[in-house]
Point group: C2
Chain length 549, copies 2
């Protein structure tokens, strides 16, 4: 006899996990709370609910129906948030277009996702113009403009966002449908070949919202997040739904601020002016802020920031702590919706000294409930949780992408043996904390041994002259690869020749027993800037080409 | 074209919403945190995980397999918590036997649920002995005993709980299965006819856990619950899984205290000794505590208590506030898993004076996200949210029982027109707060008008002489029904004849325009005690018989 399924009463209403069910409550709980776009727009949740209904009516009027795909090319804004809800709530699919890809790559994603409609900000038209004649499935293009001026362009528009909303009815009967319906699609920048599309269902986005809540609201009694927090995302809305956070903060009815482009002055102005208390970003943004001239003039002690996307270098963590910013490291990726782990301290660590606490905060943290994490060796066997042995990080959870869109081969590489293979290398310590030591493809392989590029970056990031760093492996006839380290020096050290001194730092770490002899880089090279990807991560693929011997 | 379901990769692992997936994380996060039973037992989550595996092995050794039903008759304990996890995690169904029913009613539930195994505390054998020969499907009975003594009984046991665990293997490979598998069943006391069985699936219990987290962790920035709280339930574990709270606190890895029986001295001893910060109970328990002689000797200012099961009378809310207990009203019922609403203050109410805040705290609150609440008139039309008009409260949510077990007729009465009909009467005000004014069947119907029995109780509960009260309708030839009010006076007023004075209180409320003339009760009767149901609610069915003219 198997498990007994529950008896369903004929008349019983089944309540599917749909995005519309995340939205409803905010209208009861905080109808007068504000949603804000830069210094340009502020309105209430009451208005937001109306505009979501109007947008759905406008899209329906353009012919959008269940199963269609609506692409958005916009900066982080209240409009984007409207699309996060209206499009999937209609039963359509939201394609958040990666606007930092090249026009040719964007074209690929638009055709591959089979977009039916595109909403495009007038400032992003230069991305669309060169490809407009090669777009295959798009039937309508809607212009988003923030001024009265009409853009000069050869593109024909089928409507203007604000005018469509103005004319639309303010009530829409959002349907019920299968919670496994696809809600969103977006493309990873992809280090080789074409961008790959990941996709998430309503069910997955709802469960991920609960996962975020577990990670942010339940565990850290020192800095818990509540509906009284003021939220501003600092990771782009086209990328993994801004980590899914807008869904959580809308469900809870929080005050939300959308900053448009990421300019340090505007960000700091909004943080101070709107009393922002909660954000999330990649380390690059924090690096930009702590190096901004105004950083010492502002009080950031009420600002909690979750860091992800790349490892948090120890030096940057210290600099942020000095600026009184409360940083929390988290871990995930496009394929994982994204949240997998958050670097909370366990209660017994509250008493630890600051250095030991920073050790924890720079790790990627503990898996949140409903996430299983394991570290496996190349044969697929789990490795010991001793904080030393490394292997590929694999994950299970209800909110991981089921695969890459229309790409069976890559999907099967991603999902293997019942686990999602992250392509990251890491270790788990006896307390259960995950530490990512590298991307599988960024590991430096020298003489049959592995060196973690992140370990080398961590070491050099703490030197007082160093602003940014990147460790890569470059081809070597004898050893296969050898490590080199690129550094950007702080302005006041720019003129100095510190390459030998910085190399000595690694020798000292070797002498202390912290890294093996073969881990000492052959060269430390001072450079003006380090190549980054569209979402602000070090672009090691490019760096490896640039600095190949 | 319909909605597009997500493409499933052949190899993709699906991660079902199973109770085992709630449990895992605590072993990483707080393996050394404690679970405590009275002053008799304390062990860690590490031990708990081992004992859950041992229990599953022990039950499997007794022949329990997927789809079987395991009944538990025990007091609130670590053992009960072990059953909450081990039994459903095996794919079996946990029947939490309502031990305050009569033996005949218990017999009915055991046969109706088709129990295969019963675990019974030696002190509860008197409930089982009179019915042992009429039990139909039970194959094994396991004895739970807390002393070395063997009970004198004619019942033959197939094992002893602790001995079975001692001999069992400490690892069990809990299977994956459909998240819609039935996990639990229990019986409502039922005011007429046989007890009715409600049932919940793994999916429902997991989603309800997230619902509880939303209600307790996210909204109240004044008193948010975190994993640092120390939890002790004060609603019985046989009843709606102690409101599902043990699942939440186990997921978060909190310190948990199980008090066994509900004796005021033991409760206060545990609250103080173990530094309990979070509990939940029916108003009766708070009434018992604030009237306990030791209440003034203890500091309860760190204790947050969620009140549910019955309306929170205003007088009791004030008394608890005076004793520095932080009370929060919540609302739900057996059929709803149970949580539907929590009486959080909205941020703009934090500045209100205490009287107005108590108004809110005594309401049943705002629906939590993923719960829809409506108030309908007898024709099924929604009534205005003006805080005045009343109707039946209906609900939708992913965690409501699909019906009554093996009872199609009652299930169809429960679920009608796509909504679960609660049988409660209430109003919703302009801020969205639900206020329950009565049970549909407890409403006093006089001369074609309705009087809320809770309103009458609320009025009289604030009189300094009144300890407890119950308003009921008694048959009246002319008016159909007329209200009467029963009161238990505080000890120091016991000898006084206050019936006329108390009746005057209602006249004054009428004169102030707070109740209609026909709402003034015909009599106020001072009684020694008021009949209650097995879970501590006023038993108005019994009272109506007792006090019929």
């Amino acid at each position: 006899m198997g498990v007994k399924l529950i008896e369903k009463c004929e008349s019983a209403y089944t309540y599917p996990l749909l995005i519309k069910n995340l939205l409803k409550n905010s209208l009861i709980r905080s109808p007068d709370q504000e949603i804000i776009y830069r210094d340009q727009m502020r309105y209430t949740y009451r208005d937001f609910h109306i505009r979501v209904a109007k947008l759905a009516n406008a899209l329906a009027g353009l012919g959008v129906k269940e199963g269609d795909t609506v692409a958005v090319m916009d900066f982080d804004s209240h409009r984007y948030l409207e699309c996060y809800f209206a499009v999937p709530m209609m039963g359509a699919i939201l394609h958040t277009v990666h606007i930092r890809l090249s026009p040719e790559q964007i074209l690929y994603t638009i055709n591959h996702a089979e977009d039916d409609v595109i909403l495009v900000n007038s400032e992003l038209l230069p991305l669309l113009e060169p490809i407009k004649d090669k777009i295959e499935t798009v039937k309508k293009i809607i212009l988003i403009k923030e001024t009265d001026q009409n853009p000069e362009t050869a593109i024909q528009f089928d409507g203007i966002y604000e005018e469509l909303l103005k004319d639309a009815s303010d009530s829409f009967d959002f349907p019920d449908f299968d919670e496994n319906a696809r809600a969103t699609t977006f493309y990873t920048s992809g280090t080789t070949g074409n961008p790959k599309g990941v996709y998430f269902s309503h069910r997955q986005l709802v469960l991920h919202t609960y996962g975020l809540m577990t990670g942010l609201c339940a565990f850290d009694s020192q800095a818990v997040m509540t509906s009284a927090d003021v939220y501003m995302p600092l990771t782009p809305m086209f990328h993994v739904h801004a980590w899914g956070m807008p869904y959580l903060f809308t469900m809870l009815g929080n005050k939300q601020i959308y900053p448009g482009r990421y300019e340090p002055e505007m960000i700091l102005k909004l943080v101070m002016g709107e009393k922002v208390t909660f954000s999330h970003c990649v380390p690059t943004i924090i690096h930009m802020l702590v190096n901004s001239p105004v950083i010492n003039k502002v009080d950031l002690s009420n600002w909690k920031v979750v860091i992800g996307g790349s490892a948090l270098p120890r030096g940057l963590c210290k600099a942020a702590t000095n600026a009184k910013i409360n940083l929390y490291s988290a871990y995930g990726m496009s394929e994982t919706c994204p949240l997998l782990t958050v670097a909370h301290l366990k209660p017994h660590m509250y008493e630890w000294d600051e250095e030991k606490q920073i050790d924890i905060r720079c790790k990627t943290g503990l898996p949140i409930p409903m996430v299983d994490i394991e570290i496996i060796d190349p044969l697929g066997n789990p490795v010991a949780h001793d904080g030393v042995q490394t292997g590929e990080v694999v994950a299970r959870s209800p909110w991981l992408t089921q695969g890459y869109l229309h790409n069976q081969e890559k999907s099967e590489e991603l999902w293997f043996d019942g686990w999602l293979h992250t392509g990251d290398v890491g270790s788990i310590d006896a307390e259960g904390y995950l530490k990512i030591t590298d991307r599988l493809k960024d590991v430096i392989k020298t003489g049959g041994e592995w060196i973690s590029s992140l370990t080398l970056e961590d070491i050099i990031s703490q030197h007082p002259a160093v602003s940014e760093s990147a460790a890569i492996g470059v081809p070597d006839e004898k050893w296969g690869e050898r490590p080199i380290v690129l550094v950007v020096l702080k302005d006041e050290f720019k003129e100095k020749d510190l390459e030998d001194e910085l190399k000595k730092v690694f020798m000292e770490e070797y002498e202390k027993g912290n890294i093996p002899k073969y881990g000492v880089p052959d060269r430390v090279i001072s450079v003006d800037s380090i190549a980054k990807t569209g979402v602000g991560k070090l672009d090691k693929k490019v760096l490896r080409v640039q600095y190949a011997k």
